[in-house]
């Protein structure tokens, strides 16, 4: 995978996509898996409905949510009251340098 250097993966959706779906889509892309085949259900990390509620209750409120799942850290927030941004950062890359074969 070309992301060993620890660059965050970023996904931007418009507000018609629920935050929980944006997060799941971002995780699937980052894990290179189908959304139905992720390592763990999102519910094991946080309540997806609570996530949506926090972010969408008042879109004009600046809220960002950061949580860990599998080996990554996910941050999700609403940008400009128009888009949902999801950033996925691989935590395993933080501890050491990537190895080159």
């Amino acid at each position: 995978m070309g992301r060993d250097d620890g660059d965050p993966y970023r996904l931007r959706s418009d507000l018609s996509v629920q935050p929980r779906h944006a997060v799941i889509t971002a995780l699937a892309a980052e894990q290179n898996r189908d959304r139905l085949d992720l390592e763990t259900p999102l519910y094991e990390s946080l309540d997806p409905e609570a996530l949506d509620s926090l972010l969408l209750h008042r879109p004009e409120t600046d809220v960002s949510v950061t949580f860990s799942i599998s080996d990554v850290t996910v941050t999700v927030w609403v940008e400009d009251e128009e888009h949902i941004l999801v950033e996925v950062t691989d935590r395993t890359g933080e501890a050491g340098k990537p190895s080159y074969s």
Partner: protein, 141 residues
């Protein structure tokens, strides 16, 4: 609550089944809150109603049933999102509350014996609610 009373309560919970214990062993006094949260979604209510009539159902078949109720094309992104919601939200949440069992290896959903109150409310919901969650005020009880 004294130890004697709580022991009696625990024995009674074991006799009523693990599903009720899971629903009732919550953070003191908020049983009804958890119960309403579990049911506070139209799809979750219809999942439980389906399981009242079917002991087990595969994830795929359950998704198909729900999609057909909502008029969702099985090839659409909306269908995919429905499946995603089952796997990542509704099934783990309902299992957490002891209202069904979901085996992630086999993708089989199984019914659990439900508290009487849940059965009654589901019966009421089935009569009154349309598939999109709107209450059909024209229906007679």
């Amino acid at each position: 609550m004294s130890d004697a009373e709580s022991d009696g309560e625990n024995v009674e919970q074991n006799q009523r089944g693990a599903s009720q214990a899971a629903l009732l062993c919550s953070d003191g006094g908020s049983d009804l809150n958890r119960f309403f949260e579990a049911l506070a979604d139209n799809r979750r209510r219809r999942i439980l109603i389906h399981l009242q009539q079917n002991d087990t159902v595969s994830l795929q078949d359950l998704a198909g049933v729900l999609a057909d109720q909502e008029g969702i094309d099985h090839q659409s992104e909306a269908f995919k999102r429905l499946q995603v919601d089952l796997v990542h939200l509704h099934l783990p949440k309902l299992a957490d509350y002891g209202l069904l069992a979901f085996d992630e290896r086999t993708n089989i959903v199984s019914s659990e014996s439900l508290p009487t109150a849940v059965e009654q409310i589901l019966g009421l919901v089935a009569d009154l609610e349309d598939t999109d969650g709107s209450i059909d005020s024209n229906k007679e009880s």
